[in-house]
Symmetry: D3
Subunit: 248 residues, 6 copies
């Protein structure tokens, strides 16, 4: 059930039996010479919808632009500053909490979002308490990263070993190939690829990772792999969502 394709009376009815909601969050950032700029957003959105179907939960609108400041030296990247993202997450959760939602499950496609999301959750809990909202103490936010699901991780290791890398990975590229087969890209990839450097400024990042990949070989990706990753992620995150929803 997509919030965007529902009416307000349908949401009201939904709230009478569940106060959980899934919010997809991605990023709009370079993913190497062949990875899609929207990789993190389109994978998070598709997987979130898969989970929503599986567990009969409402799925809210996708946060398409996340925290990608370190990718800013590559054209096409867009980023919120963390302080903006905190305000945005607070506005999202506050809007929905006022209507009665209490369990917010963020299905996330981008590692760079995690720290700011956690900061935003803490700021939001305190904000809701300050508003004297009656259900403030019940509000809970959780991040479910599809790419760190253990089943996903295991398969990526099996298929790609060390060539999975940590950005513009074959696993995430595979999911986009599965979702958008007409957008599969070809480009020469250097054999050598930056790897293992800590992340600092955008300028430094590009110096370390000149084509945007971090230790990955996305040429290994196939749409068939993508379907496998998608299925595993949906299954594992569905379990997490239900556990979260049913936690007291």
């Amino acid at each position: 059930m997509l919030l965007h394709l529902s009416t307000w009376p349908e949401v009201e009815a939904y709230l009478s039996h569940s106060t959980g909601i899934i919010l997809p969050i991605g990023s709009t950032e370079q993913h190497g010479p062949t990875g899609l700029i929207g990789t993190d957003a389109v994978t998070a959105e598709a997987i979130a919808r898969g989970v929503g179907d599986e567990v009969s939960a409402i799925v809210g609108p996708t946060i398409n632009v996340g925290m990608a400041l370190h990718h800013m030296a590559f054209p096409g990247t867009m980023s919120l500053r963390p302080s903006t993202m905190i305000q945005l997450v607070q506005d999202y959760v506050t809007s929905l909490a006022k209507a009665g939602f209490t369990k917010f499950f963020f299905i996330n496609g981008h590692g760079g979002n995690i720290a700011t999301l956690k900061a935003a959750f803490a700021e939001t809990y305190a904000h809701l308490a300050d508003l004297n909202l009656s259900n403030a103490h019940l509000v809970r936010c959780q991040v479910g990263n599809w790419f760190t699901c253990s089943s996903v991780y295991k398969l990526a290791k099996e298929l790609y070993g060390d060539r999975e890398g940590s950005h513009a990975t074959p696993s995430e590229v595979a999911v986009t190939q599965y979702l958008y087969p007409s957008a599969i890209k070809q480009a020469p990839l250097s054999a050598e690829v930056g790897s293992g450097h800590a992340i600092y400024s955008a300028t430094d990042f590009r110096r370390r990772y000149p084509d945007g990949r971090m230790g990955s070989d996305p040429s290994l990706a196939t749409p068939e792999h993508g379907k496998q990753f998608y299925d595993l992620a949906v299954k594992e995150l569905s379990g997490y969502y239900l556990e979260f929803l049913n936690s007291d």
Copy 2:
């Protein structure tokens, strides 16, 4: 060309011949008993993509949640505060301006976004100048509201007369029916409908417009109408985009 389905080298190539970009912006808010909560976002996104195809422009990620504070008394509504939205728009435009984009065409599906968007544009121009960005003085932002296109307006008047209203209108509902025929909703609509009241707080809004409609009769909408509106909006906004892009 969708930014999300492009790679960074493709964006780099695009920038060598155009510095224009289309950004869809909608809202996540109640649209009466039968209108979709995502109406403004899904219509803006679809029309923006249609324009992008028509004029070979890149289309960025959709801003799904806009300024809908006055709809907050209906469940399912989400809103940014205007001050958050200003920061968000500034972050979006600044990210892209740093890469070389200068013409930002926001295709908008929600009247309530307009004021804050304009405030955000002013704040952003000043911000870019303060950054001493070399292309700061070239950056231009413009809003194209699909629902105020003269061709759209004319057809709505022809088809619905006064029953078009100003929120949860048959014209916007029709476009969603065309885009998502499986999400056409049925619900009883009272004959009487609030109309003509100024917009103040969320509580006041619901008092004036108890089922969320503003003077509209969305039961008049059909998917076929929706296609007509879609086609007209794409055509008219394509013209506006090209004029904007080519303005010196």
Copy 3:
């Protein structure tokens, strides 16, 4: 009745029979070679006081500096950033709402303020609700632009036709001449004047409108015209105020 020339017990007494207040808002910005930098502030202030007398309403302090970022390439211009102005309006309205005021009628002299004012109103309604203020849902803000009064517009068209233009207009200059006859300025005006360009950054604005005028011929202004405009604006806005005050 001016708030500035009242005592707090007088305000307390006023509140026992009315909760309306008029707040003048202008701008401090270039108005072409002969227009006063304070045009928008002094006209808004004078007209607001005229309305206040007419309808026995209290008139608050003038917001002298508004949103004029696009005029910043001309010396003497001052501007708030929109995000500052939102905070300012919120502080103003919140201060007065806590004392019991609920109807805020902003008499405005500057088109560039409108978008940010509307954004500020939305932010403020939500803020007041978040404060759990008992009268939050009753608070209403409205903008009354003296220069868009239909009677004013009609007279300007009659007197000046197309030479009214849209900034540093003869009508607004006329009102300042009526109010400050000793500050009537003379300067050569080029026959050609920029017109019809959209407004973007301050640098772009000055390129388009090199002497600051937008399509106007302020040399047509006379103090006698000014008195006519003043009288019309006071009369028309007095009607609007009473309607607003008496709306349920």
Copy 4:
């Protein structure tokens, strides 16, 4: 020379021989049973204009609402939060510094503004340096409080002794009586008056100072006294301004 009654070419001409500007700042707050709510604003504005005439300096628009949070328990009081006021002062000074002004002399009518003004000056200097503005290092802001001029203080002591008090003082009331003789108020004043308490929250303030006066007997004020105070303040602040302007 009033900025509001000048044109931009006049400001440009002024800047060729002086980069100093006077900015009046007051407050909109209760001043006891007989003092005007606008006392601090109207006195600062009038004295600033007097100084401007005396020293041929340009006088900018009055900041009518200042930092008066502690007076908020009395109706009619309006206040900026300090964080808003910092942004406002930064916007004012930045606007004018970009045009070439470097010496900002704030003529102040309200003790409660001083701390926040000083904080704002520090924030602004750093902001201007961060903008890489060429004249950033030359920008200087100074507060001149008319009510702490030594000549004013001396006369107040002579005329009123201890009954001068520290808020709603006969000296400030006298200046308003001189400026607005038609707004001289009469109301019974209790013999006892709160005095000597530190200032904390608005609620606490009203408990300590139930009618708003702080140790003062404003019934001693006369318009003739007001003229004396006005003349002394203008003279003394004119000297300070010139010294400030000419400091290297």
Copy 5:
């Protein structure tokens, strides 16, 4: 009793008999060629602890970095912007007020903090009222500057006369020598020293005060003097604290 060396049940027990707390606040800024960068923080912390012992009050964590923007042209200086410091102070006081503390005594080592602290107090009182906190109206904040204690001032005048100056003073250096005898520094001091200039930007400050001292001769300091100053400050501030705590 140090908050940092207490447990939460001990704090709970303390709150049953006192709601007062001492918060040391200093700065991290240049103090001339021989003064310690932490002078204001280490003296405030030590004196606060001395007072805490004397009056059996709890002493909270030291705010080590304050408002020192004007010292920023000297390496080693750190500063909060005033707007950051306001948020920080608000967060500190709000945290503790929610637990029941109401009397906040800031023992301050840096003149440059005073204005921003006062602004922060005002902002905080209003914030607490907006939270509808039950004890909001009881919260009181006060600054006790050890260096302006009359006994300290008197001794400094006796020992150093005009060579006390106003920054990097022998009195404050003496206290650091008493506290950290192993960190007594030697460096040549020019006979001439800047003095009497107003404080504007960091660049201007360094031009006026090239070695960082303001009219002072810190070579006069001795650890023995330091002990005297310390003892006087502890005694005098202990009296102030008790008076503050016992005020109704």
Copy 6:
């Protein structure tokens, strides 16, 4: 070398051979019935100073109050909101980067700080780039958590097994006992202790962890253990610092 016990010429000299600095960051929050409220701050500070001695690096002032919103239901806890902490960290790093520092090593004593610190680093890199600071691209920030050092973790497991827990742990309590033997606390500890619950709001946290401990048995701590942990942490973090400093 402590920044607080250095002079500005000493810092200038230091910068000629190193641009690294260590910044301790802790928290002020409940640590169960026997743990010190300052545990995270005092351990981070002591270990940071140990590392500073070991590697001859300058150690800046301790950030005593961090992100502890989830502990706010226990008296004595203080917290910054994440958005405040981001501004604070940005101000700290910006101050020092302007003077030439580029390698910022935060020695951290509190898990709850990590997410917000990382968000702050990202925001700061972008801010420095926006300032056009010449060394912006060289600035690097890194967190070194003493409690996650592998040697520390290994010893804790050996000494305490599962009774180490994750908050108010015997290992951190042991370090405080070593540092402040006179502040060793005794209090009855329930045999049962909350464990394994995710962290949401402060109210929820206290419900899950009624005495503040998270799965830990701090009664196992001894000062001797504390010395061992301290030594291991200093050694391991010294290695990390040097590696960080020497990274190109």
